[in-house]
Amino acid sequence: MPSAGEALRRQSRHVARRRALRGKKAVLFGASVLAAQVKDELERHGVPIHAVVDNDPDKIGRNYHGLLVQSPEEVLVPFCDEHVVIVVAFAAAREMLHQVETLGYRKRRQAFVLTPLHLDESLMSFMRFAPHLLRGRLTYRKLTGGNPESTLFIAPYAGTGDMYLIELFLQSFVEREGIRDYSLAVASNACAQVARMMGESRVAVADQQALNSVISYGRLIRAQPTSIVVLNDGWMGAPTEWLRGYKGLNFEKMFRHTVFGLGDEIAPRMPSASATNKAVLKLFDEQGLVPGRTVVLSPYANTLFHVPDPAFWARVAARCAERGLTVCTNCGPKEHPIAGTNAARFPLSLAPDLIETAGYFVGVRSGFCDVVSGTASRKVVLYDREGRFYKGSFHEYFSLMGLGRNVCEVEFRDCDKEDLVNEVIEGLT
């Protein structure tokens, strides 16, 4: 089963081929993180986005990937035959479609819905859901080894930052609830690496759809609160989702309170990092990197954010080199190092020790930043200034200041400006 992002991209390509869009001005309805993927995909397939509209007053008036977010009425009233509206949403898709239909835009002529969810009250939806539940039951049994006394923790989101945050509090929760036997199911190998790095032994990887089916099964049978525990602050329409970013409820606080119900007095269990890991020192030796005098750049990590361009990173690398620092790029297998730097390819489990050994880190905010946040190294973390996550800015919601040590956080808008490079260099000192 495709992920939500993949499903939307596929639907985008399908819509881009529709004759109804030819020669029309496409209006994107929904200025969400996922809708940005739709925008990219449509533009790649010859459908430029003319305007972006959203009902959320927090988003209206803000920049969204180069376009100003406007209210639907501002753009779509009076009815204009030149417009086609592309609605991108999860649960609210039908509601939004109804809204544009009341403005005169007809479905499949001037309005198209892209959504990863196609469930409604119809008989078809109900029948389609039944096999999903059966799969959930089977997967649940498999993950718990058939032991009904065992607690199954499910981390359904594949982000490593979520996994790190979960692990900071999971043991406190296990102790408080008196849980004796449990297993942890995660949605990606990267998450499994993070969990194991933090000391988990019973970790299983399953695809997100399988995990969702277990959650649905748990809901159907109204499982005991400690038999299936969903480790997310707003999964599958949980109402707590909408509190994100409101009244200072950041990433850490949402997990602490919503997922685990732990008070502010409970300290997170931070992992330790070592600057004497032999595997890391060997890598440094091979790459000609100097322990304590190396900057690790992390420009490619999977992230929700708009990412600065390679020229910016090359400039940062050059400025670091001028200061006598060696520079490397945290690269995946298919990624290229930033110009003037070496590629550092290492398993995620080595990341804290590697950054601790390096001494310096510059990266765009991603789960990788969470994983290395507890190290003593000087870290500069970049946030897209325009980005919103529910009720807060990206920085407000994902700030590492509550958990990270020695962190300088920088919000950016235009990544090609020299003053941003200066800010980063200043942040390293």
């Binding site: 509601e95 099964y217 009244k247």
Partner: protein, 153 residues
């Protein structure tokens, strides 16, 4: 599992009846009061207008098994299209169907614990969160909620 599916199926029947009777798809919403919690219910009743304003809705249909709510809501509140008093088991059916999957964005439950898995009760008081915040932001999903009444119409 089969029992759960049957209960959800009955919940679907309850929903289909409400949907048809009140023409819900035509800009109306259903708010289900399912808790015997006067403080919460009072706050939720007080913010119905905000929900209507935020959604530019035709109005809301209240569904409840709580007599007090039915009495309060019956006092000609603006934006309330109808009040339906359901039996406890019908409310349970409806909850079961919603727990199975979220089949509509036009149904809201006034509760800190339900549908199954709702952890809003853990958030009361955290960072100064009030019942108004929990009702407006989480239960009604009022997008412009910033701690005060919604004025857009």
């Amino acid at each position: 599992m089969v029992k759960g599916l049957i209960t959800a199926w009955r919940g679907r029947a309850v929903w289909m009846r409400l949907r048809k009777r009140h023409d819900i798809d035509d800009g109306a919403y259903v708010v289900a009061f399912v808790e015997d919690d006067p403080a919460l219910n009072e706050v939720a009743l007080a913010h119905l207008q905000d929900l209507v304003a935020d959604r530019r809705a035709r109005g809301v249909v209240l569904v409840t098994n709580q007599e007090w709510v039915a009495e309060q809501a019956g006092e000609e509140r603006d934006g309330v299209l109808a009040v339906e008093v359901l039996a406890d088991r019908e409310i349970e059916f409806l909850l079961s169907f919603y727990e199975l999957y979220q089949f509509t964005p036009r149904l809201f439950f006034v509760s800190l614990t339900r549908p199954y898995g709702n952890r809003l009760w853990q958030m009361k008081g955290v960072n100064g969160l009030t019942l108004d915040d929990l009702v407006c932001l989480s239960m009604y999903r009022i997008r412009g909620w910033a701690g005060q009444r919604v004025t857009c119409a």
